[in-house]
């Protein structure tokens, strides 16, 4: 367990980093019988990388050999890179020792496909089984589902893992087939549907018999690459909305395309990953899941791509100015959620506090509402201020954008030298 393991770890952790899923939440797995570990339902980040992402799990590939040649993947068959494979016991030992030192919440295990999907999935499930059964480990386990693996293996995986996921990567089937000819939507959706049904069935079982074993209690997730194909934000978000509603997915992750495999002419020549667009997609995702927006309201045929300059909620408000201003003291919770500058927390506090007193802008500021934005869209128990209907949406947009520019100008380094009055 020395130099060889360190080298394997460097290669197989580096290979796994393009799968951005990082959550360790959603599973309330207690420790039983003086075993090792438990899963905290809210998830815990143990560290943060220099690119700003949280490190919660030990994210590894079991092997980075692969029989497929997907254009967007750094581990594709035709790339000449260092390849290696972990043994089952190596992964188990790394997980346990890191867990004991509180470095991680658990394990995230992916793999390149070797021999065939069943063979690959069998070995991954073995790692999870060893952890649970041999080592009495109750921490978090996230297993990738291999598209094409048998139903029985998918189900076995769910018995040991807290979360299962299979990555769609490309939002539309024709583009997926162009970049990854070995894959298609069916081979990815089938395991998703099987697992979804098993989760529903298992929830029923546990309602009747508390001692029924858990099945993937933290649900499923998936990943979509952003910017590798000309798919619009509407296509991406429509697919995501569908997955949340019909496949009961817990999370969809959006990963800005990191320019790998630049020799492949099917891929766009990007100078850098589209991080701003990725950020807007996450904001849109939040609007769908927490702010009760429909996908149609965020992006549609008239407005198929998200505005890069302003966030999706402000964009919606400026495109629908007739909905405002709303009266803070009378509007419903749903309506308050639509006001730029009012988040879920502030909306809840407003609804609860106004039972006691009529709220003023002073109260709103203390509650945490961003008045700089909200002031154009609300009325309060006070003198009337100009709102988005008196000033035009274009003017509001300019005002809010220039605010950001002013802050940037203020923080920029001084380019001139102060002249001295005295020689």
């Amino acid at each position: 367990m020395l130099t060889e393991t360190i080298n394997k770890l460097k290669i197989l952790a580096g290979a796994a980093k393009y799968d951005v899923s990082c959550a360790s939440s959603g599973s309330n797995r207690p420790n039983t019988g003086k075993g090792l570990g438990n899963a905290a339902p809210w998830g815990i980040c143990h560290s943060f990388t220099e690119d700003g992402r949280c490190v919660s799990l030990l994210k590894l590939m079991l092997t980075n050999y692969c029989i497929y040649d997907c254009a967007y993947c750094a581990n594709r068959k035709s790339n000449d890179i260092r390849r290696t494979t972990f043994t089952v016991s190596e992964v188990v030992e790394l997980t346990i020792e890191f867990y004991r030192r509180n470095y991680i919440e658990g394990l995230f295990l992916s793999s390149g496909v070797i021999v065939n999907p069943d063979y690959t999935m069998e070995r991954m499930v073995q790692v999870a089984k060893d952890l649970r059964i041999k080592h009495n480990y109750h921490g978090y386990i996230h297993l990738k589902s291999i598209p094409g693996a048998s139903d029985e293996l998918q189900q076995k995986a769910g018995l040991y893992a807290d979360r299962l996921s299979v990555n769609i990567e490309i939002a539309t089937e024709p583009n997926l087939k162009m970049l990854a000819p070995d894959k298609n939507f069916m081979s990815i959706m089938n395991p998703m549907t099987t697992i979804k049904n098993k989760i529903i069935e298992n929830k029923e079982d546990r309602r009747k018999f508390r001692s029924a074993p858990r099945f993937s209690p933290a649900g499923q997730s998936t990943q979509l690459i952003v910017g590798a194909t000309p798919d619009s934000d509407k296509q991406i978000l429509s697919l995501a909305g569908n997955l949340y509603t019909n496949q009961n997915l817990k999370r969809v992750y959006y990963s800005g395309f990191i320019p790998v495999n630049s020799y492949d002419k099917r891929l766009p020549a990007l100078a850098e990953p589209p991080l701003r667009r990725e950020n807007r997609l996450y904001q849109a995702d939040w609007l769908f899941r927490f702010y009760h927006f429909s996908i149609d309201e965020i992006v549609n045929d008239n407005h198929p791509d998200l505005d890069l300059e302003i966030d999706p909620k402000l964009s919606y408000a400026l495109r629908n100015p007739w909905l405002f201003p709303v009266d803070i003291n009378k509007a419903s919770y749903e309506t308050l959620l639509r006001v730029p500058g009012i988040g879920v927390k502030s909306a809840k506090l407003i609804v609860v506090s106004r039972q006691y007193n009529k709220l003023t802008t002073e109260n709103l500021k203390k509650i945490g509402v961003v008045l700089k934005r909200a002031k154009y869209f609300i009325t309060c128990n006070e003198l009337k201020m100009p709102t988005v209907n008196e000033i035009s949406p274009e003017y509001v947009r300019k005002a809010l954008l220039s605010d950001t520019v002013q802050v940037k100008k203020k923080n920029a380094p001084k380019l001139y030298k102060q002249l001295s009055l005295f020689p």
Binding site: M1, L36, I44, F48, R100, R101, N102
Partner: protein, 269 residues
């Protein structure tokens, strides 16, 4: 000005508040005996900690508001902020005197203040769960130190007892010089006088380190380095999430400081 002096315990504070509310004397300052400085012009009231009185007041607060609110007040007390006693006095007075439950009235300044402090302390408590890193000693005890801004270590003990039920561990608050030891059965409060454990760096000496410890720290450093995506570098966000004051506890940050780890390639920038 009215000066209340109590013994720094939570029950002592509740006794002071009980006395203040019962007698109608409004304290201008509530201070612990440790921090008390003599003031010629103040009327001093030495409060005797009375468990019955504090229990009675606490029950009133619970029935008037909620069990959750009680947790909120106690957590705010752990902040050890100066003047926290007066903030709690004003908050409890509000809760007791209003005919209905005001814990959710965010148009009230005291409610906002208590919740803000509660959030700060909770976040610091969560940080213990996040950034504690155990080091394995030769006697198979997993040792970790931490110096939280607020006195939140007692809040974290239950989590570690449940999670690491099959290994002996110690977590030590180097700022307040006390800690907890789990011996596979119970958790006990302890102090440490072992010269081989540094209170500044939080690290244990090589002599008492388990033979495998350096290897696993090394593996972790290599892992941390390998998962960084350089094309997405964002140090501003990184510093927001991982303030420098925690770096001394994280082996992965050692990589940047020392720049010299066996069997690994160091990449800078």
């Amino acid at each position: 000005m009215n000066l209340f002096i109590y013994d720094q315990s939570f029950e002592g504070l509740l006794s002071s508040i009980h006395d203040a509310l019962e007698t109608g004397i409004v304290p201008d300052k509530i201070v612990s005996t440790r921090l008390y400085q003599d003031d010629l012009f103040a009327t001093k009231f030495d409060i005797a900690t009375d468990l019955e009185k504090s229990e009675k007041l606490w029950n009133m607060v619970r029935t008037k508001s909620s069990k959750q609110n009680c947790e909120r007040i106690y957590t705010a007390f752990l902040s050890e902020l100066p003047e926290i006693e007066l903030v709690i006095y004003n908050y409890i007075k509000l809760i007791i005197n209003m005919p209905y439950n005001t814990e959710a009235d965010f148009s009230n300044d005291y409610v906002i203040k208590i919740n803000a402090i509660y959030r700060k302390v909770s976040r610091e408590a969560q940080r213990i769960l996040m950034f504690v890193r155990f080091q394995k000693t030769v006697d198979d005890i997993f040792y970790a130190s931490h110096d939280p801004q607020y006195n939140v270590l007692p809040l974290a003990v239950k989590h570690f007892k449940n999670r690491f039920a099959d290994q002996k561990w110690v977590i030590f608050d180097t700022r307040r010089r006390f800690g907890y030891y789990y011996d596979l059965n119970d958790v006990r409060e302890i102090t440490i006088s072992n010269k081989k454990i540094s209170f500044e760096t939080g690290k244990i000496d090589k002599e008492i380190m388990h033979v495998s410890e350096k290897l696993f720290q090394n593996l972790w450093q290599n892992y941390y380095n390998a998962i960084n995506i350089k094309e997405r570098k964002n140090l501003k966000v990184h510093m927001q999430f991982l303030p420098k004051r925690f770096w001394k506890y994280l082996p992965e940050k050692d990589l940047i400081k020392n720049g010299q780890i066996e069997n690994s390639i160091v990449t800078v920038g």
